[in-house]
């Protein structure tokens, strides 16, 4: 099953890249011109995200560098450990929704130092793999179309991050137990 899905993932993109123009040519669409026509918008879209992402990443990296993030993690540590969250995994609770690259680096380091088959490594990998970086997704998706008032979207994203975090810990307890 797993091998099959991995094979599918690997084949999917090349097949898609070949299938779409092939089918379009059959439907008499001028494929190359249409490609250029659509691709033109890609650059503008990427550029329009820049202000949003610069604003957000500036605040996040200042937050990390000032030591504020560490202090907050330390202050919620006893509470989270009471709930069965392994101590090594704690920083992920705040890192995951804020920075994708930061949390990936953290998880990679944890897997390296603790060993890939430890309970903490499995919890961390589950958290990293089961959710996306809320602030990044919000910034990029809404930034690309110029939405400035995101209404309740951020609350929903952060709420699902919290639920996902504890769900990951609980599921790992169920499946792997403490080792």
């Amino acid at each position: 099953m797993l091998a099959w899905i991995e094979l599918l993932s690997a084949w999917m993109i090349p097949m898609l890249i070949a299938f779409i123009p092939l089918y379009a040519a059959y439907r008499k669409v001028p494929v190359y011109e249409t490609f250029i026509d659509g691709a033109k918008d890609g650059f503008g879209t990427a550029v329009s995200i820049i202000p949003h992402l610069v604003g957000m990443l500036t605040a996040i990296s200042m937050f990390r560098a000032s030591g504020a993030l560490d202090t907050i993690i330390q202050s919620i540590r006893p509470f989270l450990e009471l709930l069965g969250v392994p101590g090594e995994v704690l920083p992920l609770a705040l890192l995951r929704p804020l920075t994708g690259a930061g949390s990936l680096a953290f998880v990679t380091d944890l897997i390296k130092t603790q060993g890939p088959d430890t309970f903490a490594a499995k919890v961390a990998a589950t958290i990293q793999g089961s959710t996306d970086t809320t602030l990044y997704v919000l910034t990029v998706y809404f930034g690309a179309v110029g939405i400035r008032n995101s209404r309740y979207a951020l609350k929903v994203g952060l709420f699902s991050d919290i639920v996902g975090f504890f769900a990951a810990v609980a599921v790992c307890w169920l499946l792997f137990g403490q080792s």
Binding site: P21, A46, S150
Partner: protein, 194 residues
């Protein structure tokens, strides 16, 4: 809310920077963060240009519409205010399938195309519509069948069963997505008319 989180992070950073004697690091981080923002966007340029070109072909060939017709009954419940025949539906579906298969760099352009189509239905271009919020909720929770990156990293460090996190990830992501959709529904309901 974004306003307050942003302001809060900056003010708290400066206070902590002063208390911890790390003002220099904070200043450095501000510009480092800005640079990362630009770098990430430039990295998106190639992906967006390529996929948007390919998706234009798909759209003109009628593939986007066909996809939305086939799967619309499933997704229409999540997006009740998007017309079934609208191209937004097709892009929403491509975005969701790409996420599911773990095709991260295809999922983002498709999601952005979906947002652009939803923006055409939006009466106030600077305020998010409920449909946009739902699409965002689906993407922040991001249902993935196989967490390929995590499996690869564990494999790298010599895990005996690198794929044993597939089940735990799938369960956790299902719970998170369920929570996101429930919260989205709740806010959509309570914010109606307000």
């Amino acid at each position: 809310m974004v306003n307050w989180i942003w302001l809060g992070m900056i003010v708290v950073s400066v206070i902590f920077g002063a208390a911890n004697g790390r003002m220099e690091e904070v200043a450095e981080a501000a510009f480092g963060g800005a640079q990362t923002g630009v770098t990430v966007c430039l990295g998106l340029v190639s992906i967006l240009v390529f996929w948007m070109g390919l998706m234009k072909i798909a759209e003109n060939a009628g593939l986007v519409l066909a996809l939305s017709r086939i799967l619309a009954p499933v997704v229409r419940r999540l997006f009740p205010d998007v017309p079934a025949e609208h191209p937004a539906m097709g892009y929403i579906l491509s975005n969701m399938s790409a996420n599911l298969l773990g095709l991260g760099n295809a999922a983002t352009p498709m999601g952005i195309r979906a947002m652009q189509e939803l923006q055409k239905l939006n009466p106030d271009k600077s305020v998010a519509t409920p449909a946009m919020c739902t699409l965002l909720a689906l993407n922040t929770a991001s249902i993935t069948l196989v967490p390929t990156t995590m499996i690869a990293i564990r494999m790298n460090f010599g895990s005996l069963h690198p794929a044993d996190i597939v089940a735990s990830t799938l369960l956790a992501t299902a719970v998170a997505t369920g929570a996101a959709l429930a919260a989205d529904r709740w806010y959509r309901w309570t914010s109606r008319g307000g």
